[in-house]
Amino acid sequence: MTNSQIDKIIAKYEGKSGVLIQLLLELQRELNWISPEAVKRINEKLGIPISEIYRVASFYTALSLEPRGKYLIRVCAGTACYIRGGLRVLDAAEKTIGIKAGETSSDLKFTLETVNCLGCCALGPVVEINGKYYGTVTPKRLEEIICRKRSEK
Protein backbone atom coordinates (compact mmCIF):
# COMPACT_ATOMS: atom_id res chain seq x y z
CA MET A 1 0.00 0.00 0.00
CA THR A 2 1.40 3.35 -0.96
CA ASN A 3 1.63 6.48 1.12
CA SER A 4 -1.13 8.17 -0.84
CA GLN A 5 -3.51 5.33 0.05
CA ILE A 6 -2.54 5.65 3.71
CA ASP A 7 -3.04 9.40 3.50
CA LYS A 8 -6.46 8.90 1.95
CA ILE A 9 -7.58 6.84 4.93
CA ILE A 10 -6.07 9.28 7.42
CA ALA A 11 -7.73 12.22 5.64
CA LYS A 12 -11.15 10.84 6.56
CA TYR A 13 -10.33 11.35 10.23
CA GLU A 14 -8.65 14.74 10.05
CA GLY A 15 -10.10 17.44 12.28
CA LYS A 16 -11.94 14.96 14.48
CA SER A 17 -10.96 13.99 17.99
CA GLY A 18 -10.96 10.58 19.65
CA VAL A 19 -10.63 8.75 16.34
CA LEU A 20 -7.31 6.97 16.84
CA ILE A 21 -8.69 3.48 17.45
CA GLN A 22 -11.15 3.66 14.55
CA LEU A 23 -8.39 4.92 12.28
CA LEU A 24 -5.96 2.20 13.34
CA LEU A 25 -8.63 -0.47 12.85
CA GLU A 26 -9.31 0.75 9.34
CA LEU A 27 -5.59 0.84 8.54
CA GLN A 28 -5.22 -2.66 9.94
CA ARG A 29 -8.08 -3.83 7.72
CA GLU A 30 -6.67 -2.28 4.56
CA LEU A 31 -2.96 -2.72 5.23
CA ASN A 32 -3.06 -5.91 7.35
CA TRP A 33 -0.67 -4.25 9.80
CA ILE A 34 0.21 -0.88 11.34
CA SER A 35 3.44 -0.02 9.57
CA PRO A 36 5.94 2.47 11.00
CA GLU A 37 5.30 4.55 7.91
CA ALA A 38 1.57 4.67 8.71
CA VAL A 39 2.34 5.64 12.31
CA LYS A 40 4.55 8.46 11.06
CA ARG A 41 1.85 9.72 8.69
CA ILE A 42 -0.78 9.74 11.46
CA ASN A 43 1.61 11.72 13.63
CA GLU A 44 2.21 14.27 10.90
CA LYS A 45 -1.41 14.64 9.80
CA LEU A 46 -3.27 14.42 13.11
CA GLY A 47 -0.55 15.60 15.50
CA ILE A 48 -0.94 12.56 17.78
CA PRO A 49 2.42 11.74 19.40
CA ILE A 50 4.07 8.61 18.03
CA SER A 51 4.34 7.18 21.55
CA GLU A 52 0.58 7.50 21.92
CA ILE A 53 -0.09 5.66 18.66
CA TYR A 54 2.40 2.98 19.64
CA ARG A 55 0.74 2.62 23.04
CA VAL A 56 -2.68 1.97 21.48
CA ALA A 57 -1.37 -0.21 18.65
CA SER A 58 0.65 -2.40 21.02
CA PHE A 59 -2.24 -2.73 23.48
CA TYR A 60 -4.91 -4.26 21.26
CA THR A 61 -4.42 -7.72 19.76
CA ALA A 62 -6.66 -6.67 16.87
CA LEU A 63 -3.87 -4.31 15.82
CA SER A 64 -0.55 -5.68 14.69
CA LEU A 65 2.75 -3.85 14.59
CA GLU A 66 4.21 -6.56 12.37
CA PRO A 67 2.94 -7.63 8.95
CA ARG A 68 0.26 -10.29 9.21
CA GLY A 69 -0.24 -13.12 6.77
CA LYS A 70 -3.14 -13.38 4.34
CA TYR A 71 -4.71 -16.02 6.57
CA LEU A 72 -4.87 -15.39 10.28
CA ILE A 73 -5.20 -18.77 11.95
CA ARG A 74 -6.21 -18.60 15.60
CA VAL A 75 -6.15 -21.86 17.49
CA CYS A 76 -8.09 -21.86 20.73
CA ALA A 77 -6.08 -22.87 23.78
CA GLY A 78 -8.81 -22.04 26.28
CA THR A 79 -9.75 -24.54 28.95
CA ALA A 80 -12.40 -26.49 27.02
CA CYS A 81 -10.42 -26.67 23.78
CA TYR A 82 -7.24 -27.42 25.70
CA ILE A 83 -8.63 -30.58 27.30
CA ARG A 84 -10.12 -31.65 23.99
CA GLY A 85 -6.68 -31.59 22.37
CA GLY A 86 -6.34 -27.98 21.24
CA LEU A 87 -2.60 -28.07 21.67
CA ARG A 88 -2.28 -31.09 19.36
CA VAL A 89 -4.16 -29.08 16.74
CA LEU A 90 -1.75 -26.21 17.34
CA ASP A 91 1.22 -28.57 16.96
CA ALA A 92 -0.13 -29.75 13.64
CA ALA A 93 -0.53 -26.16 12.43
CA GLU A 94 2.99 -25.25 13.55
CA LYS A 95 4.48 -28.25 11.76
CA THR A 96 2.45 -27.81 8.57
CA ILE A 97 3.25 -24.12 8.16
CA GLY A 98 6.71 -24.34 9.69
CA ILE A 99 6.29 -21.44 12.15
CA LYS A 100 5.62 -21.11 15.85
CA ALA A 101 2.50 -19.58 17.39
CA GLY A 102 2.72 -15.77 17.22
CA GLU A 103 4.77 -15.83 14.02
CA THR A 104 4.06 -15.11 10.37
CA SER A 105 5.31 -17.28 7.50
CA SER A 106 7.94 -15.62 5.32
CA ASP A 107 5.65 -15.70 2.26
CA LEU A 108 3.11 -13.64 4.25
CA LYS A 109 0.49 -16.31 3.68
CA PHE A 110 -0.15 -17.44 7.26
CA THR A 111 -0.07 -15.93 10.72
CA LEU A 112 -0.55 -18.36 13.58
CA GLU A 113 -1.88 -17.25 16.96
CA THR A 114 -3.35 -18.84 20.01
CA VAL A 115 -6.45 -17.38 21.60
CA ASN A 116 -7.92 -18.05 25.00
CA CYS A 117 -11.57 -18.51 24.12
CA LEU A 118 -13.65 -18.05 21.00
CA GLY A 119 -16.95 -18.40 22.81
CA CYS A 120 -18.11 -21.75 21.40
CA CYS A 121 -16.54 -24.23 23.81
CA ALA A 122 -19.07 -26.96 22.95
CA LEU A 123 -17.49 -27.20 19.50
CA GLY A 124 -13.91 -27.52 20.84
CA PRO A 125 -11.23 -27.74 19.73
CA VAL A 126 -12.02 -24.60 17.76
CA VAL A 127 -9.93 -22.88 15.10
CA GLU A 128 -10.76 -19.53 13.56
CA ILE A 129 -9.39 -18.67 10.12
CA ASN A 130 -10.06 -15.13 8.90
CA GLY A 131 -13.30 -14.88 10.85
CA LYS A 132 -14.60 -18.33 9.86
CA TYR A 133 -14.98 -20.83 12.70
CA TYR A 134 -14.06 -24.51 12.41
CA GLY A 135 -15.43 -26.78 15.18
CA THR A 136 -14.21 -30.18 16.45
CA VAL A 137 -11.02 -29.77 14.47
CA THR A 138 -8.58 -32.67 14.35
CA PRO A 139 -4.87 -32.19 13.62
CA LYS A 140 -5.39 -33.94 10.29
CA ARG A 141 -8.33 -31.74 9.28
CA LEU A 142 -6.44 -28.52 10.06
CA GLU A 143 -3.48 -29.81 8.08
CA GLU A 144 -5.79 -30.36 5.10
CA ILE A 145 -7.33 -26.92 5.44
CA ILE A 146 -3.90 -25.28 5.56
CA CYS A 147 -2.68 -27.23 2.54
CA ARG A 148 -5.80 -26.19 0.62
CA LYS A 149 -5.24 -22.53 1.51
CA ARG A 150 -1.60 -22.79 0.58
CA SER A 151 -2.30 -24.13 -2.91
CA GLU A 152 -4.84 -21.34 -3.49
CA LYS A 153 -3.57 -18.38 -5.45
Binding site: P49, I50, S51, Y54, F59
Partner: protein, 481 residues
Amino acid sequence: MRQNAEVVEDKTEKSEYVTLTIDGIEVKARKGTPLLEVARQIGVEIPTLCYYSFVSPYGSCRLCSVEITTKSGRNRIVTSCNYPAEDGLKVETKSEKVIMVRKGILELLLARCPKVVRVKNLAREYGITEPTLWVSDQDEDCILCGLCVRACKELIGVSAINFAMRGVKREITAPYHKFSDDCIGCGVCALVCPTGSRKIRQHTYATIAPLKGPKDENIGVNIDIFSAHSPDSLDGFVKAVIAAGLKSGLLDSVVLAKRKNSFAAEAVIIENSEDFLNCSLANSVRIKIVSTLMDAIAKGKRKIAFIGLPCQVRAARKIEQTLQKEIPDLEITSIGLFCLNSFNPKKLVEKINSLFKVDEKQIENISVKDGKFIIQAKSKEHSVALEKLDAAIENGCVYCNDFPAFFADLAIGTAGSEPGSVTVIVRTDKGKMLLEKANFTRDIAQKDDVVRLSDFKKNRAKEHTAPILKEIYAQRSRKGE
Protein backbone atom coordinates in the same frame (compact mmCIF):
# COMPACT_ATOMS: atom_id res chain seq x y z
CA MET B 1 -3.08 20.56 62.74
CA ARG B 2 -5.70 23.26 62.64
CA GLN B 3 -9.29 22.71 63.59
CA ASN B 4 -12.00 23.83 61.19
CA ALA B 5 -9.46 24.93 58.63
CA GLU B 6 -10.40 26.56 55.39
CA VAL B 7 -8.80 25.51 52.16
CA VAL B 8 -9.19 28.11 49.47
CA GLU B 9 -7.79 27.12 46.11
CA ASP B 10 -8.52 30.01 43.81
CA LYS B 11 -10.20 33.21 44.89
CA THR B 12 -10.46 34.83 41.48
CA GLU B 13 -12.79 32.27 40.04
CA LYS B 14 -16.36 32.17 41.15
CA SER B 15 -16.58 28.79 42.71
CA GLU B 16 -18.66 26.67 44.93
CA TYR B 17 -17.44 25.67 48.37
CA VAL B 18 -18.25 22.45 50.10
CA THR B 19 -17.82 21.28 53.66
CA LEU B 20 -16.35 17.89 54.43
CA THR B 21 -14.57 16.22 57.32
CA ILE B 22 -11.15 14.64 57.13
CA ASP B 23 -10.17 12.50 60.13
CA GLY B 24 -12.82 14.33 62.15
CA ILE B 25 -11.68 17.84 61.17
CA GLU B 26 -14.26 19.94 59.44
CA VAL B 27 -12.86 21.56 56.28
CA LYS B 28 -14.24 24.02 53.79
CA ALA B 29 -12.80 23.48 50.35
CA ARG B 30 -13.52 24.37 46.79
CA LYS B 31 -15.72 21.80 45.13
CA GLY B 32 -13.73 19.39 43.00
CA THR B 33 -10.35 19.84 44.70
CA PRO B 34 -8.71 16.44 45.04
CA LEU B 35 -9.15 15.04 48.58
CA LEU B 36 -5.39 14.57 48.83
CA GLU B 37 -4.75 18.30 48.30
CA VAL B 38 -7.37 19.25 50.87
CA ALA B 39 -5.88 16.83 53.41
CA ARG B 40 -2.31 18.00 52.84
CA GLN B 41 -3.26 21.62 53.22
CA ILE B 42 -4.64 21.01 56.70
CA GLY B 43 -1.61 18.93 57.62
CA VAL B 44 -3.05 15.44 57.26
CA GLU B 45 -0.39 13.25 55.64
CA ILE B 46 -1.31 10.66 53.04
CA PRO B 47 1.48 8.62 51.45
CA THR B 48 1.80 8.79 47.64
CA LEU B 49 4.10 7.52 44.95
CA CYS B 50 2.48 8.66 41.73
CA TYR B 51 1.12 12.09 42.62
CA TYR B 52 2.43 15.59 41.99
CA SER B 53 0.18 18.62 41.78
CA PHE B 54 1.86 19.82 38.56
CA VAL B 55 0.62 16.89 36.51
CA SER B 56 -2.86 15.41 36.26
CA PRO B 57 -3.68 12.76 38.89
CA TYR B 58 -3.77 9.19 37.63
CA GLY B 59 -4.50 7.04 40.67
CA SER B 60 -2.22 4.20 39.69
CA CYS B 61 -0.07 3.55 42.77
CA ARG B 62 -3.21 3.48 44.94
CA LEU B 63 -1.22 4.24 48.07
CA CYS B 64 -3.29 7.35 48.71
CA SER B 65 -6.39 5.20 49.25
CA VAL B 66 -8.76 6.59 51.88
CA GLU B 67 -12.12 5.51 53.22
CA ILE B 68 -15.04 7.76 52.40
CA THR B 69 -18.64 7.90 53.49
CA THR B 70 -20.85 9.95 51.22
CA LYS B 71 -23.81 12.06 52.27
CA SER B 72 -26.13 9.20 51.34
CA GLY B 73 -24.20 6.88 53.66
CA ARG B 74 -22.30 4.87 51.04
CA ASN B 75 -18.94 3.70 52.36
CA ARG B 76 -15.99 2.75 50.16
CA ILE B 77 -12.28 3.02 49.48
CA VAL B 78 -11.16 5.57 46.89
CA THR B 79 -7.86 7.06 45.76
CA SER B 80 -7.68 10.52 47.29
CA CYS B 81 -5.45 11.97 44.54
CA ASN B 82 -8.26 11.97 42.00
CA TYR B 83 -11.41 11.95 44.12
CA PRO B 84 -13.03 15.41 44.09
CA ALA B 85 -14.13 17.09 47.29
CA GLU B 86 -17.90 16.99 47.67
CA ASP B 87 -20.32 18.26 50.26
CA GLY B 88 -20.92 16.24 53.41
CA LEU B 89 -18.14 13.75 52.69
CA LYS B 90 -16.57 11.97 55.65
CA VAL B 91 -12.97 10.97 54.92
CA GLU B 92 -10.90 8.63 57.05
CA THR B 93 -7.21 8.48 56.18
CA LYS B 94 -6.01 6.19 58.95
CA SER B 95 -8.92 3.87 59.70
CA GLU B 96 -8.40 0.15 60.14
CA LYS B 97 -9.79 -0.55 56.69
CA VAL B 98 -7.46 2.01 55.07
CA ILE B 99 -4.39 0.59 56.81
CA MET B 100 -5.37 -2.92 55.70
CA VAL B 101 -5.83 -1.80 52.08
CA ARG B 102 -2.56 0.13 52.08
CA LYS B 103 -0.74 -2.85 53.50
CA GLY B 104 -2.09 -5.01 50.70
CA ILE B 105 -0.97 -2.46 48.11
CA LEU B 106 2.50 -2.27 49.62
CA GLU B 107 2.81 -6.05 49.58
CA LEU B 108 2.07 -5.97 45.87
CA LEU B 109 4.44 -3.08 45.24
CA LEU B 110 7.23 -4.76 47.22
CA ALA B 111 6.74 -8.00 45.30
CA ARG B 112 7.12 -6.09 42.06
CA CYS B 113 10.10 -3.96 43.11
CA PRO B 114 11.84 -5.78 46.00
CA LYS B 115 15.01 -3.70 45.73
CA VAL B 116 13.61 -0.18 45.45
CA VAL B 117 14.51 1.74 48.60
CA ARG B 118 11.48 3.97 48.64
CA VAL B 119 9.07 1.07 48.33
CA LYS B 120 11.00 -0.86 50.97
CA ASN B 121 10.86 2.05 53.40
CA LEU B 122 7.15 2.59 52.90
CA ALA B 123 6.49 -1.12 53.33
CA ARG B 124 8.52 -1.21 56.54
CA GLU B 125 6.37 1.64 57.88
CA TYR B 126 3.41 -0.69 57.51
CA GLY B 127 5.25 -3.61 59.06
CA ILE B 128 6.31 -5.44 55.91
CA THR B 129 10.02 -6.22 55.82
CA GLU B 130 10.20 -8.98 53.23
CA PRO B 131 8.20 -9.63 50.04
CA THR B 132 5.33 -11.92 51.01
CA LEU B 133 4.21 -12.58 47.45
CA TRP B 134 5.92 -14.18 44.49
CA VAL B 135 8.64 -11.99 43.01
CA SER B 136 8.86 -12.43 39.25
CA ASP B 137 11.86 -10.16 38.71
CA GLN B 138 14.29 -9.25 41.47
CA ASP B 139 15.63 -6.28 39.52
CA GLU B 140 12.33 -4.77 38.46
CA ASP B 141 12.33 -1.08 39.35
CA CYS B 142 9.26 0.36 37.61
CA ILE B 143 5.84 0.42 39.26
CA LEU B 144 4.12 1.61 36.05
CA CYS B 145 2.73 4.69 37.78
CA GLY B 146 3.07 6.77 34.63
CA LEU B 147 4.46 9.88 36.36
CA CYS B 148 7.20 10.11 33.72
CA VAL B 149 4.64 9.74 30.94
CA ARG B 150 2.48 12.51 32.35
CA ALA B 151 5.39 14.86 33.04
CA CYS B 152 6.75 14.33 29.54
CA LYS B 153 3.37 14.99 27.99
CA GLU B 154 1.95 17.70 30.19
CA LEU B 155 5.00 19.73 31.20
CA ILE B 156 7.31 19.30 28.25
CA GLY B 157 4.69 18.60 25.62
CA VAL B 158 6.70 16.04 23.68
CA SER B 159 5.31 12.63 24.79
CA ALA B 160 8.57 10.86 24.06
CA ILE B 161 7.77 7.92 26.31
CA ASN B 162 4.53 6.13 27.01
CA PHE B 163 3.05 2.86 28.15
CA ALA B 164 3.21 -0.01 25.69
CA MET B 165 1.84 -3.57 25.53
CA ARG B 166 -0.54 -4.80 28.21
CA GLY B 167 -0.94 -7.23 31.07
CA VAL B 168 2.30 -8.66 32.44
CA LYS B 169 4.16 -7.25 29.44
CA ARG B 170 3.11 -3.67 30.14
CA GLU B 171 6.05 -1.31 30.25
CA ILE B 172 7.26 2.25 29.83
CA THR B 173 9.17 2.73 26.63
CA ALA B 174 9.94 4.96 23.71
CA PRO B 175 8.09 3.78 20.57
CA TYR B 176 9.49 0.55 19.09
CA HIS B 177 12.14 0.36 21.83
CA LYS B 178 14.25 2.62 19.66
CA PHE B 179 15.97 5.91 20.35
CA SER B 180 13.19 8.42 20.72
CA ASP B 181 12.62 10.96 17.99
CA ASP B 182 10.80 13.30 20.33
CA CYS B 183 12.90 13.23 23.51
CA ILE B 184 14.73 16.51 24.14
CA GLY B 185 16.89 15.17 26.95
CA CYS B 186 15.34 17.36 29.63
CA GLY B 187 15.49 14.57 32.22
CA VAL B 188 12.14 15.37 33.83
CA CYS B 189 11.15 11.70 33.58
CA ALA B 190 14.12 10.66 35.71
CA LEU B 191 13.49 13.55 38.10
CA VAL B 192 9.88 12.69 38.89
CA CYS B 193 10.33 8.92 38.94
CA PRO B 194 9.45 7.70 42.46
CA THR B 195 11.62 4.59 42.16
CA GLY B 196 14.58 5.90 40.17
CA SER B 197 13.87 3.43 37.39
CA ARG B 198 16.56 2.67 34.80
CA LYS B 199 13.97 1.95 32.13
CA ILE B 200 13.20 5.54 31.26
CA ARG B 201 16.84 6.16 30.52
CA GLN B 202 17.13 3.40 27.94
CA HIS B 203 15.88 5.10 24.81
CA THR B 204 15.74 8.67 26.01
CA TYR B 205 18.46 11.18 26.67
CA ALA B 206 17.73 11.83 30.33
CA THR B 207 21.31 11.27 31.45
CA ILE B 208 24.37 12.18 29.43
CA ALA B 209 28.01 11.92 30.48
CA PRO B 210 29.43 15.46 30.59
CA LEU B 211 32.14 16.72 28.25
CA LYS B 212 35.66 16.95 29.62
CA GLY B 213 37.69 20.15 29.57
CA PRO B 214 37.92 23.62 31.05
CA LYS B 215 34.43 24.74 32.03
CA ASP B 216 32.75 28.10 32.20
CA GLU B 217 29.42 28.32 34.01
CA ASN B 218 27.47 30.16 31.34
CA ILE B 219 29.34 29.08 28.25
CA GLY B 220 30.05 25.49 29.20
CA VAL B 221 33.09 23.39 28.40
CA ASN B 222 35.18 25.23 25.81
CA ILE B 223 38.71 25.28 24.49
CA ASP B 224 38.23 28.30 22.29
CA ILE B 225 35.70 31.04 21.60
CA PHE B 226 35.94 33.50 18.76
CA SER B 227 34.02 35.42 16.16
CA ALA B 228 34.31 34.23 12.55
CA HIS B 229 33.77 36.50 9.60
CA SER B 230 31.00 35.12 7.42
CA PRO B 231 29.25 37.26 4.82
CA ASP B 232 26.25 34.94 4.62
CA SER B 233 25.83 34.91 8.40
CA LEU B 234 25.09 31.64 10.20
CA ASP B 235 24.15 29.55 7.17
CA GLY B 236 27.28 30.58 5.32
CA PHE B 237 29.69 29.71 8.09
CA VAL B 238 28.14 26.34 8.89
CA LYS B 239 28.13 25.49 5.21
CA ALA B 240 31.77 26.46 4.74
CA VAL B 241 32.89 24.34 7.69
CA ILE B 242 30.83 21.28 6.81
CA ALA B 243 31.57 21.45 3.10
CA ALA B 244 35.30 21.57 3.87
CA GLY B 245 34.87 18.60 6.21
CA LEU B 246 33.03 16.59 3.54
CA LYS B 247 35.61 17.43 0.89
CA SER B 248 38.58 16.51 3.06
CA GLY B 249 37.04 13.20 4.08
CA LEU B 250 36.85 14.15 7.74
CA LEU B 251 33.08 13.68 7.42
CA ASP B 252 31.18 11.22 5.26
CA SER B 253 27.71 12.70 5.70
CA VAL B 254 25.73 15.42 7.39
CA VAL B 255 22.33 15.17 9.04
CA LEU B 256 20.37 18.37 9.30
CA ALA B 257 16.96 20.00 9.23
CA LYS B 258 16.54 21.43 5.77
CA ARG B 259 14.20 24.34 5.33
CA LYS B 260 11.21 23.63 3.11
CA ASN B 261 9.51 26.99 3.51
CA SER B 262 9.32 29.62 6.23
CA PHE B 263 7.88 27.31 8.85
CA ALA B 264 8.39 23.79 7.68
CA ALA B 265 11.54 21.72 7.57
CA GLU B 266 12.51 18.16 6.85
CA ALA B 267 15.37 16.08 8.20
CA VAL B 268 17.81 14.95 5.52
CA ILE B 269 21.09 13.07 5.11
CA ILE B 270 23.51 14.75 2.71
CA GLU B 271 26.71 13.08 1.54
CA ASN B 272 27.94 15.45 -1.10
CA SER B 273 29.32 18.93 -0.42
CA GLU B 274 27.60 20.45 -3.48
CA ASP B 275 24.17 19.19 -2.44
CA PHE B 276 24.86 20.61 0.97
CA LEU B 277 25.73 24.07 -0.31
CA ASN B 278 22.41 24.23 -2.13
CA CYS B 279 20.15 23.75 0.86
CA SER B 280 19.23 26.14 3.62
CA LEU B 281 19.25 25.40 7.33
CA ALA B 282 16.13 25.54 9.44
CA ASN B 283 17.09 26.84 12.85
CA SER B 284 13.97 28.09 14.54
CA VAL B 285 11.77 25.00 14.52
CA ARG B 286 12.33 21.70 16.24
CA ILE B 287 11.61 18.77 13.97
CA LYS B 288 12.15 15.03 14.25
CA ILE B 289 15.75 14.48 13.28
CA VAL B 290 16.99 11.64 15.46
CA SER B 291 15.46 8.89 13.29
CA THR B 292 17.27 10.40 10.31
CA LEU B 293 20.52 10.25 12.26
CA MET B 294 19.80 6.58 13.03
CA ASP B 295 19.09 5.98 9.32
CA ALA B 296 22.50 7.43 8.48
CA ILE B 297 24.18 5.11 10.98
CA ALA B 298 22.21 2.14 9.62
CA LYS B 299 23.38 3.06 6.12
CA GLY B 300 26.94 2.60 7.32
CA LYS B 301 27.87 6.24 7.79
CA ARG B 302 30.49 6.55 10.51
CA LYS B 303 31.76 10.14 10.38
CA ILE B 304 28.57 12.09 10.65
CA ALA B 305 28.12 15.79 11.20
CA PHE B 306 24.89 16.58 13.02
CA ILE B 307 23.46 20.09 12.93
CA GLY B 308 20.75 20.80 15.41
CA LEU B 309 19.33 22.76 18.32
CA PRO B 310 20.83 22.23 21.80
CA CYS B 311 18.13 19.67 22.69
CA GLN B 312 18.77 17.71 19.51
CA VAL B 313 22.51 17.89 20.11
CA ARG B 314 21.92 16.31 23.54
CA ALA B 315 20.17 13.45 21.76
CA ALA B 316 23.01 13.04 19.27
CA ARG B 317 25.59 13.07 22.06
CA LYS B 318 23.73 10.44 24.04
CA ILE B 319 23.36 8.25 20.95
CA GLU B 320 27.08 8.56 20.27
CA GLN B 321 27.92 7.68 23.88
CA THR B 322 25.58 4.67 23.82
CA LEU B 323 26.41 3.27 20.38
CA GLN B 324 30.17 3.66 20.59
CA LYS B 325 30.21 0.48 22.68
CA GLU B 326 28.87 -1.48 19.68
CA ILE B 327 30.27 0.65 16.86
CA PRO B 328 33.66 1.89 18.08
CA ASP B 329 34.46 3.84 14.92
CA LEU B 330 31.25 5.90 15.08
CA GLU B 331 31.91 9.62 15.34
CA ILE B 332 29.16 12.17 15.45
CA THR B 333 30.40 15.74 15.23
CA SER B 334 27.62 17.90 16.61
CA ILE B 335 27.16 21.47 15.49
CA GLY B 336 24.86 23.10 18.04
CA LEU B 337 22.99 26.27 17.17
CA PHE B 338 22.40 28.81 19.95
CA CYS B 339 18.77 28.62 20.93
CA LEU B 340 16.61 30.73 23.20
CA ASN B 341 13.49 28.75 22.40
CA SER B 342 11.98 27.10 19.39
CA PHE B 343 8.57 27.93 18.05
CA ASN B 344 5.79 25.50 17.45
CA PRO B 345 5.17 25.97 13.71
CA LYS B 346 1.41 25.55 14.03
CA LYS B 347 1.05 27.98 16.93
CA LEU B 348 3.41 30.46 15.25
CA VAL B 349 1.42 30.50 12.02
CA GLU B 350 -1.79 31.13 13.98
CA LYS B 351 -0.14 33.91 15.98
CA ILE B 352 1.26 35.61 12.88
CA ASN B 353 -2.09 35.30 11.19
CA SER B 354 -3.79 37.11 14.02
CA LEU B 355 -1.07 39.75 14.44
CA PHE B 356 -0.43 40.76 10.84
CA LYS B 357 -3.35 39.24 8.94
CA VAL B 358 -0.83 37.54 6.68
CA ASP B 359 -1.41 34.15 5.18
CA GLU B 360 1.25 31.49 5.72
CA LYS B 361 1.78 31.11 1.97
CA GLN B 362 2.52 34.80 1.45
CA ILE B 363 5.48 34.83 3.81
CA GLU B 364 8.76 35.16 1.97
CA ASN B 365 11.25 35.26 4.80
CA ILE B 366 11.48 35.24 8.56
CA SER B 367 14.32 36.45 10.74
CA VAL B 368 15.09 37.41 14.30
CA LYS B 369 17.03 40.58 15.05
CA ASP B 370 17.54 42.75 18.14
CA GLY B 371 14.77 41.07 20.08
CA LYS B 372 12.36 41.45 17.20
CA PHE B 373 10.72 38.88 15.02
CA ILE B 374 10.61 40.06 11.43
CA ILE B 375 8.64 38.61 8.58
CA GLN B 376 8.55 39.63 4.96
CA ALA B 377 5.32 39.12 3.11
CA LYS B 378 4.02 40.59 -0.12
CA SER B 379 7.26 42.67 -0.23
CA LYS B 380 6.31 44.37 3.03
CA GLU B 381 8.13 44.00 6.31
CA HIS B 382 6.31 43.34 9.57
CA SER B 383 7.99 43.10 12.93
CA VAL B 384 6.95 42.28 16.46
CA ALA B 385 8.74 42.10 19.80
CA LEU B 386 9.79 38.55 20.56
CA GLU B 387 7.97 38.56 23.91
CA LYS B 388 4.68 38.94 22.05
CA LEU B 389 5.24 35.51 20.59
CA ASP B 390 5.75 33.74 23.90
CA ALA B 391 2.48 31.90 23.43
CA ALA B 392 3.87 30.18 20.34
CA ILE B 393 6.92 28.74 22.10
CA GLU B 394 7.13 24.95 22.37
CA ASN B 395 5.95 23.94 25.87
CA GLY B 396 9.19 22.41 27.10
CA CYS B 397 11.47 25.29 26.10
CA VAL B 398 10.80 27.34 29.22
CA TYR B 399 12.28 24.54 31.34
CA CYS B 400 15.45 24.30 29.26
CA ASN B 401 18.62 26.02 30.45
CA ASP B 402 20.76 25.21 27.45
CA PHE B 403 21.35 28.29 25.31
CA PRO B 404 24.86 27.67 23.96
CA ALA B 405 24.50 23.92 23.19
CA PHE B 406 26.54 22.61 26.11
CA PHE B 407 26.96 19.16 24.55
CA ALA B 408 28.00 20.19 21.03
CA ASP B 409 31.47 19.85 19.54
CA LEU B 410 31.02 23.25 17.97
CA ALA B 411 28.41 25.73 19.15
CA ILE B 412 27.52 28.45 16.70
CA GLY B 413 25.24 31.47 16.79
CA THR B 414 24.95 35.12 15.88
CA ALA B 415 24.90 36.37 19.48
CA GLY B 416 28.21 37.94 20.45
CA SER B 417 29.20 38.97 16.94
CA GLU B 418 28.68 41.93 14.61
CA PRO B 419 26.38 41.45 11.61
CA GLY B 420 28.29 39.49 9.00
CA SER B 421 30.03 37.40 11.65
CA VAL B 422 29.15 34.45 13.82
CA THR B 423 30.30 33.41 17.27
CA VAL B 424 31.92 29.99 17.49
CA ILE B 425 32.50 28.06 20.71
CA VAL B 426 34.89 25.16 20.26
CA ARG B 427 34.20 22.55 22.92
CA THR B 428 36.12 19.45 21.85
CA ASP B 429 39.17 18.41 19.84
CA LYS B 430 36.81 16.86 17.30
CA GLY B 431 35.31 20.29 16.75
CA LYS B 432 38.73 21.90 16.52
CA MET B 433 39.87 19.43 13.87
CA LEU B 434 36.83 20.15 11.73
CA LEU B 435 37.46 23.90 11.92
CA GLU B 436 41.04 23.48 10.75
CA LYS B 437 39.79 22.35 7.33
CA ALA B 438 37.83 25.54 6.69
CA ASN B 439 39.02 29.00 5.71
CA PHE B 440 37.75 32.06 7.56
CA THR B 441 39.03 35.15 9.33
CA ARG B 442 38.90 35.22 13.10
CA ASP B 443 37.98 38.07 15.38
CA ILE B 444 37.38 38.46 19.09
CA ALA B 445 33.87 37.48 20.18
CA GLN B 446 31.77 39.55 22.55
CA LYS B 447 31.58 36.83 25.15
CA ASP B 448 29.34 38.97 27.36
CA ASP B 449 26.50 38.86 24.85
CA VAL B 450 26.51 35.07 24.88
CA VAL B 451 26.75 35.03 28.68
CA ARG B 452 23.82 37.44 28.96
CA LEU B 453 21.54 35.28 26.81
CA SER B 454 22.70 32.07 28.44
CA ASP B 455 22.00 33.67 31.79
CA PHE B 456 18.56 34.78 30.67
CA LYS B 457 17.67 31.26 29.57
CA LYS B 458 19.06 29.74 32.77
CA ASN B 459 17.03 32.12 34.91
CA ARG B 460 13.88 31.51 32.94
CA ALA B 461 14.38 27.77 33.42
CA LYS B 462 15.05 28.27 37.12
CA GLU B 463 11.90 30.34 37.51
CA HIS B 464 9.78 27.67 35.87
CA THR B 465 11.38 24.64 37.50
CA ALA B 466 11.59 26.09 41.03
CA PRO B 467 8.02 25.24 42.11
CA ILE B 468 8.34 21.77 40.57
CA LEU B 469 11.64 21.05 42.29
CA LYS B 470 10.29 22.37 45.57
CA GLU B 471 7.44 19.90 45.45
CA ILE B 472 9.69 17.01 44.46
CA TYR B 473 12.15 17.69 47.30
CA ALA B 474 9.30 18.12 49.77
CA GLN B 475 7.93 14.75 48.67
CA ARG B 476 11.32 13.07 49.03
CA SER B 477 11.90 14.44 52.49
CA ARG B 478 8.49 13.37 53.77
CA LYS B 479 8.45 11.52 57.02
CA GLY B 480 9.68 7.96 56.81
CA GLU B 481 11.07 8.18 53.27
